[in-house]
């Protein structure tokens, strides 16, 4: 169980993948579903041993895996937590994930971990800080990271540039890739009142190496305007699938994760969503012959 294994290179394919949940470990190993890949939240595998590592090792022997951090606080005002960075490196060295990603958000302040992905203002100062942090992540991890676009509920008066301008500048300065969360685009658009298709049009699609799809809940703000909550607690909504098909036209086939982290269904429910992503990727390939649709990106 503690023996170290080398998995070798095993790129994450441009197919539907599923967030790995402990509830599904056994079913996945027993039924060997034809799903493209799995993504794990890094922090859940920062224990020393036990079932999480035993099952992830067994699943990693059978499937490509992507490592998704939720606790690095890249958008934070303070320095990155060096100990956390080295824990991430240890995990990445152990499981050799095909992709590694983190969020454009902060989640810790002054050693208190707030356990949510919190928004930051988009200014020259925050841009420099985020870029410095990503440079530091690249140095520590010795592999490229993908930065995920956020879903937010509030805005900052001090913001001076759009999220797209911010993301473009980060990519230009750090060389990181992007993780396009299409549900987050939809949630942002509804919550802040813009057209999600315009956002997609402006998004630097050529840097997208992974897509996320997840479910959201519907609420309202105090003014009666719709407020979507990014809760990953249900199926991907209809309009998000529509937006996803549009995104694929721009990015070409990319690995697409179904995130379902709360009220987790039986494996079949999650698998069905991953198959739906597979079908959308296949449809995008046939409708789009040519360089973008013909072969997976490197």
């Amino acid at each position: 169980m503690a023996a170290s294994v080398s998995f070798g290179t095993n790129p994450v394919p441009p197919r539907g993948g599923a967030g790995l949940k402990p509830e599904h470990y056994r079913t996945i190993l027993d039924s060997a579903p034809d799903v493209g890949w799995f993504e794990v939240h890094a922090e859940n595998y920062m224990g020393e041993g036990g079932p999480p590592h035993a099952y992830l090792t067994a699943i990693r022997e059978r499937y490509p895996v992507s490592l998704h951090g939720v606790g690095l606080s890249i958008g934070g005002a303070g320095p990155l937590d060096k100990a956390h960075l080295s824990r991430l490196r240890v995990l990445a060295d152990r499981y050799e994930p095909g992709l590694f990603s983190e969020h454009l958000a902060w989640s810790s302040h002054d050693s208190v971990y707030l356990n949510d992905l919190l928004p930051l203002p988009y200014t020259d100062a925050t841009l420099s800080r985020v870029c410095d942090h990503i440079d530091e992540v690249h140095d520590a991890m010795a592999r490229p990271m993908l930065l995920e676009n956020p879903s937010t509920y509030v805005a900052y008066a001090e913001t001076t540039m759009s999220e797209i301008e911010f993301l473009r500048a980060v990519v230009r300065r750090t060389g990181c890739g992007l993780l396009l969360d299409v549900n987050n685009v939809f949630v942002q658009a509804i919550n802040h009142g813009f057209d999600p298709f315009d956002y997609l049009d402006a998004f630097p699609a050529e840097h997208v190496r992974e897509i996320h799809l997840g479910g959201h809940a519907e609420d309202e703000d105090a003014g009666g305007a719709p407020l979507l909550i990014d809760d990953h607690g249900r199926e991907v909504a209809g309009p998000v699938w529509t937006l996803y098909a549009e995104a694929l036209k721009k990015t070409g086939p990319v690995p697409t994760l179904i995130e379902w982290d709360n009220d987790v269904p039986a494996w079949e429910g999650l698998f069905a969503e991953a198959k739906r992503a597979d079908a959308a990727i296949a449809a995008c390939r046939t409708s789009q012959p040519g360089p973008a649709g013909a072969s997976p990106r490197p």
């Binding site: 503690a2 224990g47 036990g50 035993a54 005002a77 937590d81 009142g193 609420d219 105090a222 407020l227």
Partner: protein, 256 residues
Amino acid sequence: MGTAMDNEAAFARALLDAEAAVPAGIEGREGGGAERRFAVYRNNVHANLVDVLAGRFPVSAKLVGDAFFRAMARIYVAKTPPDSAVLLRYGGGFADFVAGFPPAAPVPYLADVARLEWAWHGAYHAADAEPLPQEALAALVPRAERLALTLHPSLRLVRSNYPLVTIWERAARDGGDEPVRLPAGGEDALVLRPALEVEVRRLPEGGAVFIQALQDGARLPEAAASASAAALAFDLAASLAGLMRSGAVVGTSGSA
């Protein structure tokens, strides 16, 4: 407007304090008010952490009911937010908090149940190690005088003045809200994960003292002497056999 650190501190403070106003510079749609919107974050932070505790202390939650447990956990979260992004480490102080939480006093054994659940959680995520095979026991007997045992890294002891293991087993089985007649006297629990399953066992008299001494590095005769001093009925052969049988021993030292 203060520094970025000050602004972040104000945001963090307002998240943890339900009475706090929305921090300056935070807006809703088109520069509008953000009370309700900010409350989404505040609610996320608390609800997610309460969910973590509810998942980590399920038997405690059964014993007092979900509503009571969540209200209690929410107070703990506000008082003791996590200090690490590794949430696997969160909740180590929860049992002590429960012990000092006056509304929980009618369930006096609740804190011990929480201690047992924290031990269970620790054993689940502890380092792995291969237990010594039972046959190895016979080979140890001739040099038992000089021997110290290396115990499994997942091994934890929880000592209680209440019949803890009985309470835990019944709650895990029946739902725990049935009033049951409890046996008199305390029980000590051994929590261990020799392979993938965490096991909880009731220790015989003196067993916890014996294992604690071994864990602290005592050789067998010293550990046995401490256990006998603590409990007249302590049975070395039975305790040692029980330890070996449960997969608690992963190595020996001091045989020279």
